[in-house]
């Protein structure tokens, strides 16, 4: 991966974390060049773009779009792509946080506090449906 693409990724994440929203390509430089860099980063699984629009979809572990996993951390609400990413947002920000979601089966509200890299309700279960070898076949489904 080229250093220029790594720098683009760093600036993309920095703006996202600073403002709590995904930057448009034009905020980071020449839009065509930025989109080209994002495409190369997406090919390396360093971020995820919306197919067809080249807008940011995931800055893993953050989701750019609303999901079932809301995370309050660092004084702001975020969305995680899944439960793993929701806990990962606290890990990436190196801060405590609160995850709010609901049981996919019954809809019961589930809230988890993350303190010092631990979750307060360790009786909850995390289910991974897709085997690891196929996670990137369809990362949005995974």
């Amino acid at each position: 991966m080229e250093e220029t693409d790594l720098e683009l990724r760093r600036r993309t994440y920095a703006l996202f974390v600073e403002h709590g929203r995904a930057p448009a390509a034009g905020e980071l430089g020449d839009a065509d060049e930025v989109v080209g860099g994002w495409r190369r980063l997406a090919a390396e699984h360093a971020l995820v773009l919306n197919p067809g629009t080249d807008e940011l979809r995931m800055l893993n572990p953050f989701s750019v779009v609303p999901t079932a996993y809301r995370v309050h951390a660092g004084g702001r609400w975020w969305y995680g792509n899944c439960a793993w990413d929701a806990v990962g947002i606290c890990a990436a920000l190196h801060t405590d946080g609160r995850i709010e979601t609901s049981c996919p089966d019954c809809g019961e509200r589930l809230a988890v506090e993350v303190r010092d890299e631990r979750v307060d309700d360790e009786s909850l279960l995390f289910h991974v449906l897709v085997p690891a070898a196929h996670w990137w076949d369809d990362i949005v489904f995974t």
């Binding site: 990724r9 909850l124 279960l125 995390f126 070898a133």
Partner: protein, 69 residues
């Protein structure tokens, strides 16, 4: 990749689909810290497959299901 209250909820949600893998929320926390902890580091570089596989193994996730592509 979802959170559930119990195995019964997972089974109902699967509705006959082949189950994947289930781990505790405690292990999920270990996994999340190891996997995502460096994501905002200024010197972050993409993990190669072997690095990611090592993270999974370090938190006890081994076997065919957890073998990365």
């Amino acid at each position: 990749m979802n959170l559930f209250r119990s195995e019964e909820h997972i089974a109902r949600w699967l509705g006959g689909r082949e189950p994947g893998a289930t781990i505790t929320a405690a292990k999920l926390a270990d996994l999340a810290v190891a996997w995502w902890g460096d994501r905002l580091a200024p010197d972050w570089r993409p993990h190669i497959r072997e690095e990611n596989q090592a993270i999974l193994e370090r938190v006890g996730l081994t076997g065919e299901f957890w073998a990365l592509a």
